[in-house]
Subunit: 688 residues, 2 copies
Amino acid sequence: MDNQDRPAEMSKDPLVVFTPSGKRGRFPAGTPVLTAARRLGVDLDSVCGGRGICSKCQITPSYGEFSKHGVTVAPDALSEWNAVEDRYDRKRGLKPGRRLGCQAQILRDVVIDVPPESQVHRQVVRKAAAVRAIEMDPATRLFYVEVDAPDMHEPTGDLERVKRALRAQWEIDDIAADLPAIAGLQKTLRKGEFRITVALHKARADSVPELVAAWPGLHEAGLYGLAIDLGSTTIAAHLTDLETGEVIASSGIMNPQIRFGEDLMSRVSYSMMNPGGDAEMTRAVREALDTLTTEIAAEAGIEPGLILEAVFVCNPVMHHLLLGIDPVELGQAPFALATSSALDLPARDLGLTALPATAQVYLLPCIAGHVGADAAAVTLAEEPQKSEDLVLIVDVGTNAEIILGDKRRVLACSSPTGPAFEGAQISSGQRAAAGAIDAIRIDPETKEPRFRVIGSELWSDEPGFAEATAATGITGICGSGIIEAVAEMRMAGVLDPSGLIGSAEATGTARCIAEGRTHAYVIHDGTAEGGPLITVTQGDIRAIQLAKSALYAGARLLMDEMGVDRIDRVVLAGAFGAHISPKHAMVLGMIPDVVLDKVTSAGNAAGTGARLALCNLAARRAIEENVRLITKVETAIEPRFQEHFVAANAIPHATDSFPELSKIVPLPAVSFNAGGGEDRPRRRRRRS
Amino acid sequence: MDNQDRPAEMSKDPLVVFTPSGKRGRFPAGTPVLTAARRLGVDLDSVCGGRGICSKCQITPSYGEFSKHGVTVAPDALSEWNAVEDRYDRKRGLKPGRRLGCQAQILRDVVIDVPPESQVHRQVVRKAAAVRAIEMDPATRLFYVEVDAPDMHEPTGDLERVKRALRAQWEIDDIAADLPAIAGLQKTLRKGEFRITVALHKARADSVPELVAAWPGLHEAGLYGLAIDLGSTTIAAHLTDLETGEVIASSGIMNPQIRFGEDLMSRVSYSMMNPGGDAEMTRAVREALDTLTTEIAAEAGIEPGLILEAVFVCNPVMHHLLLGIDPVELGQAPFALATSSALDLPARDLGLTALPATAQVYLLPCIAGHVGADAAAVTLAEEPQKSEDLVLIVDVGTNAEIILGDKRRVLACSSPTGPAFEGAQISSGQRAAAGAIDAIRIDPETKEPRFRVIGSELWSDEPGFAEATAATGITGICGSGIIEAVAEMRMAGVLDPSGLIGSAEATGTARCIAEGRTHAYVIHDGTAEGGPLITVTQGDIRAIQLAKSALYAGARLLMDEMGVDRIDRVVLAGAFGAHISPKHAMVLGMIPDVVLDKVTSAGNAAGTGARLALCNLAARRAIEENVRLITKVETAIEPRFQEHFVAANAIPHATDSFPELSKIVPLPAVSFNAGGGEDRPRRRRRRS
């Protein structure tokens, strides 16, 4: 049919040049643009297979002279605007200059631009921490097919005729079909009068695509996936459009397993001490995931039945408990994982009933018994293995994932910081939700605090603050808030290097109140309005000291293993209260010394890794390959970890250790929760 | 290592010849027999991989001169009996002359016989209807592996180390693992001190084997599969040893869907009329399968957890209801199946909870909307496509599967006979179980009946009958019993050609009693002992007439399609009351005329097809290929079917139509139920 193989000079067929790819070829006059694009391997989307109904194949012809391509494009290079395009334009509207690639036929030499939204493998730029773009190549895709009606004289099953249509219309050789998808297929076919859109899931390059959903006619309600960071204390999910890559809702929920133990090891103990305890915890987390799924779908205004994929990142204990595997082996040396490989599973095998039965789950691989899929996800998002300089990545959570490396070598460990950094085990702590204090400054002279709460952009000493926070109230302190509070208390001299809160007499402020034999610092007294008294107690300081010492000791241990005593830069990440203030983290002594402008905040890097894996199959293969190359360091049995831990207890006076800190304007502290998602953080006007 | 590639003359290595395969090769002195067998591709079993613990590799060395093989075997051709063999012999016993192939080393030229029980692909001869042997090649097999203990410094998951062991010890490149199997793996590994036996399921030649079970140490409790014939009225199962192919228990249960409608179309109607009715019927049949599984495992004395496979044959409506698919499309033209292909599914997707969650199910393909996997199974068992002469195969059930064909062409249809042939809709009917009358003779002179009941080999007029049946009682008539009863009533003149039972006056026997405006024939009056009055009523005769007319009409329709009016032979099959008496079937007019000795009884051919598919993967591929070649004829819309049906209503006097019948000794009527299974029918002493 086409003349690509003949020398171009000899052919009189029109030449078509596609931009931005630059792919070119000659085709007989009358060839639809979509057909030409397919033959040349140009990335031009289509769900309906060229029937003029899905509009995914929109293109923009260019007219005039193109010396770069050696083509002059005449105004009649494409066939005339036709009835199908006209109908589509009237019903849905086409942008000026756009044509439908399946309708417009090539008549003379032409240059055709494929706009980004018409590319299958379009790139989604991550706006917040725009390290790199995500190329869309999800495991699940839509295909519109016109299926033969059944014929009594040549009996075949409906599924077999769908297969035949996919072969003829999409060149998809064979598909498998998940039983729940088969069960609903007959009604869908008849409702759509044998025209249906199917969703096919292809987990790996060499796997047979699996039919996971079908809708009558052209399905236009979209197709979604969940990227889930399943932490010990909090579960964060991003609902992502699998066609555009856009995050349409982000939401979080407490991990209800907290009632079985606040940290991982106490949950492992619970399982050891209570027969059936692991099953109980598995049930709890699965129920929470069902709740989260229902809520996030409602927030985004979509049917949960359209969520056909979920990608999970989590630490090994959560990994096992999600899968229904007793985590007991993870509580004792040699910390053997039941399985470390990435897993592809149907959601129903995980008992996730809020997702459709055919939804497919991908779990990132674990690195070792204490270094899980969450650490793998962080490396996927931050790519330390590609870094020229030595980077320390710290993912702050109940269990901190710590990664140190560069192009030559990547090390990883985890450290049991406990839930303090997530606002748990803190007297006024809460998760990062509306009403939580997430930023604090304390005047070194007056020792008076000012603060902001999630849900308002005003500081507490700004006009209108009371009105702005009236709806949510001021309910507690979240993870990033407590880190700032302790660091500010130290800088203001309310706290001594050993971590002791001074008395009112010693500090000269009535905000230091007695509490038993120790003292507490009052950040906000809302009792007059029936609200809480929000303080930082001596117990809170101790919890933060333990947490930060564990984190610091883990980082030092990796530095020992790497044989270095300086690092080049630090990336701070965390699922909740996502953007930790680098300055305060360093004042607190969470991380080793580094020049302050070399500390960046990456938001929920594990969640980003999950999103990457959700949107792009190659990212899954990359992380499966990368985890083999990561050297894992075991903190639990390493005596030096204990030494570093003990040595890291103090909170040195910030301006002593880091003289530049006092001169620097703090970086914005941004929390992704309660709204936008990490791609669209609520940037606040700055005055501080 | 071995010298196979060098010319035999030049090698001084010992020659080993295996019988019965005749495979031969030279190996360095000291090579274990098992190693030599593996290199030569000799079919010698081993589960433990040559560690001297499983004893599957037993061989028998032959000594002396073997001119056929050109070898003289010296007494010291193999290494001496060793400690491992000695221990095994003391603990379990080795037959005289036997050695363990993994222990005995080849020292000099030797001839080695592999006894049948040491062959993986051993043949199981079907004793009853010994049409052909089954070669064992099941989808699920056992492998013993020694797994590395976990090492903190080289962290890998337990599953990944099992994979490594399978690669190193069994050359199995990669496996997948079903989640429930992963969940239990850690405990099994530790219980077995990292020595375990795994069961791998490989559904197709090109599929990755899947880990479906694991046991500590060497697993010796065996591995089982269920071959299930899921009929509209009755469900029959054969519990089969997947290592030997032996049927260790056969059992049946009524299909509880009967309460939703006795035949298929009334169940389809139930689904049409009642929203959720299909789900209700699905639940009912799955529960019955759970009960059947539990009962058959208990009967055989094995753990249900050892049943790792199930193969189903069924008609299309049962196929859909088992899968959870609404059968409504099967109730109206064009009778479209949801799917016609063979299916591989985990048992848990079918909600079969009595089987282990990882048990794998195989469903044979369907041929068309009214011709199901049961007909496919019958062709697998009876192979009409290989027949030189034109054979009619009739599988009697609530829906009869009728197949006509030879080497050139095979036709199939189904016919809605209703459940009368299975003893349902019959006033004294019951399923073929202990206490049921399954054979009857009526004296043409006295009109007195004599009969046998399942559970005893005596006729009712033989001494000791009362004692022999005291335990079970005489409870009713099963399918083969009712066929004989009606035919015998006709031959004895109790019934006229139109099917009317005569009065006591007309027939001259008090056994013909009035029942309303019609008459009934009393076979057995047990009321004096508190038992039932067992009669054949006019209603029973009408039900049998309808059933046999439907069957006959279906067969005639296929003959019309084939363009023949004679057939060469008939095979009668049926799941329950399995062995129908050919003579009585022909007297009744169930089947077209054919010389009596060309009528054979095949027992439960569909069940046999299921067993073949259970034991041999090639049989699955064969049937998947064969169903494409079968031409399906639709009875429901064919006017000639109605004509044949009406014409077939009469019951001609047997000896008029078939003069030879009166001279022939009846074939044994054998029922497989309540005991052995079709391979081991209870043959009874004959006197009639």
